[in-house]
Amino acid sequence: MRVNPVGTVEVLTGSHSHGQGHETTFAQLVAGRLGIPIENVAIVHGDTDKVQMGMGTYGSRSGAVGMSAIVKALDKIEAKAKKVASFVLEAAEADIDFKDGKFSVKGTDKSVDFASVALQAYVAHKFTGEQLEPGLKEGAFYDPTNFTFPSGVHIAEVEIDPDTGVTTIAKWTAVDDFGVIINPMIVEGQVHGGIAQGIGQALLEGAVYDANGQLLTASYMDYTMPRADDLPSFRVDHTTTPCPSNPLGIKGCGEAGAIAAPAAVMNAVTDALGHENIAMPATPQAVWLAARASFAKAAE
């Protein structure tokens, strides 16, 4: 985490974003903690020239692990900045408070803002090199002490056309507990994408090979990706039980939809069919065949 002399902040993170919105969520965390405008925070990821080590985004871990590392770095930045502020404000380090982007001396109206402290950290006019090493730049690594355990309930309501075997998702309701949520809109988007992926897995997607090992679903003319009109509008909500094993109380959210959706869809489909003799993807043909078996059973 590099605080520039003008008070802007650059965060180099190993948690790469390929659409999960880290640039927003991570910046929100830093801006909120330091009391600076969000546009003063730059999140750098995926640039091997700048970021030494990164392993991408997977395992629903960028919030819980990546942001915990950012919190550790922020702790170090704040501690060092307090030292600088104590020289600027001519007070004991223990008497410096930091709140809303301002360092102040307890019980007085003396204060200095974050950007001024950043400048003083570099110009080093208020302290000597023996008293404090100039600069404001810290790094942190974080190894989680435990996994996070999100939980939730997804309810799929499906309609099956017995004539054709077509399954339509009539309604979708989901409540998840992701612990503390930094950006509700981004988290909701993650859930939407996950459900779409899960519905794709349950009803549409499947790699098919012929007897010679030739892939038959080699283009989107044959491989069915879920599309907007395959999906209903989702009703999603959340409860908040903070995670005990990381500083922000965050739990993973990225995979929740994709984990819940196939099970919810298939439970609904098998419930409608009256038996479990069907595999994913439950394509119209597979459902039609399974429904014929249901009718035959009902007729017995």
Binding site: D163, T164, Y220, D222, T283, Q285, L289
Partner: protein
């Protein structure tokens, strides 16, 4: 893609003389089939003749008891045309159910029928409506035009100029979309004019669009979906089977789609 010459005639006469002059030239309509084929190097014409600059091939008009649809008319234009929607709502719906918005805005009726893809929608619709295909050389009924999977009665250098569709028929098209490509996995068009009924099936036949004559006879007696209850669906042995649908499933879907088309044609 290999190198080729590109021609963009401004009149039908210029287009005619170009196809006459250039040996293995290909006509380009919206490029929805031709360009992917060229990119995959399944076709490598030395010249491409783009018809998009020929005004005679564009547009839809009503002439007497017919709709006249220019060969270069896009599916989206047919789907949203006030003329088509008023005279043959089932045809507008057919065009509106082709592929996706991109395909509907680039793909054309001329390109679709010249290609005669066994899963295309227009061949069934035009057969059931008793349409006439007009080329730079002659006119022929749809029944003579579609000769089999990916084949038509078109000769070398023959250009489709328009399609004449009689109005006044009871008509509807019911399509079961291939979930991936959105072509017809099974599509059934039903047209009734006077006492004559045509039931045309696409997407299912191993040799392209075909007529289901048993259904036509039953519906000719009484034009109601229930009339199909007594007859057996086209036999699976004559139908396509692929990763999306077995021949048995297609046979079943023909019955379902035919009933839906009849119900659609009798509604309103």
């Amino acid at each position: 893609m290999y190198a080729f010459d590109f021609h963009r005639p401004a009149t039908l006469r210029q287009a005619n003389s170009l196809v006459g002059k250039l040996g293995d030239a290909k006509i380009l309509a919206g490029g929805q089939t031709l360009l992917p084929t060229m990119k995959q190097r399944l076709a490598s014409p030395s010249a491409v003749i783009d018809l998009s600059g020929v005004p005679e091939l564009a547009g839809i008009e009503q002439k007497g008891r017919n709709l006249v649809i220019g060969a270069m008319t896009s599916h989206a234009e047919v789907a949203t045309s006030a003329l088509v929607t008023a005279a043959l709502p089932g045809l507008a719906a057919l065009a509106g159910g082709i592929g996706d918005p991109h395909v509907r805005h680039k793909g054309t009726i001329g390109g679709s029928i010249a290609n005669n893809d066994p899963a295309a929608d227009y061949p069934a619709g035009l057969l059931a409506l008793g349409a006439t295909i007009v080329t730079n050389r002659r006119k022929m009924p749809a029944a003579e035009f579609f000769t089999g999977m990916f084949s038509t009665a078109l000769d070398e250098g023959e250009i489709i100029t328009k399609v004449i569709v009689p109005i006044g028929a009871k008509f509807a098209y019911a399509k079961f979309r291939n979930p991936a490509s959105r072509y017809a996995m099974v599509g059934v068009a039903v047209g009734k004019k006077g006492s004559s009924v045509v039931v045309a099936v696409t997407g299912a036949g191993s040799d392209g669009v075909f007529r289901w004559t048993e259904a036509e006879a039953a519906l000719g007696k009484r034009f109601n979906a229930k009339s199909l209850d007594g007859i057996t669906n086209p036999a699976a042995k004559d139908l396509n089977s692929d990763i999306h649908a077995s021949a048995e499933y297609r046979s079943h879907l023909i019955g379902v789609m035919a009933r839906r088309a009849v119900t659609g044609a009798t509604a309103k």
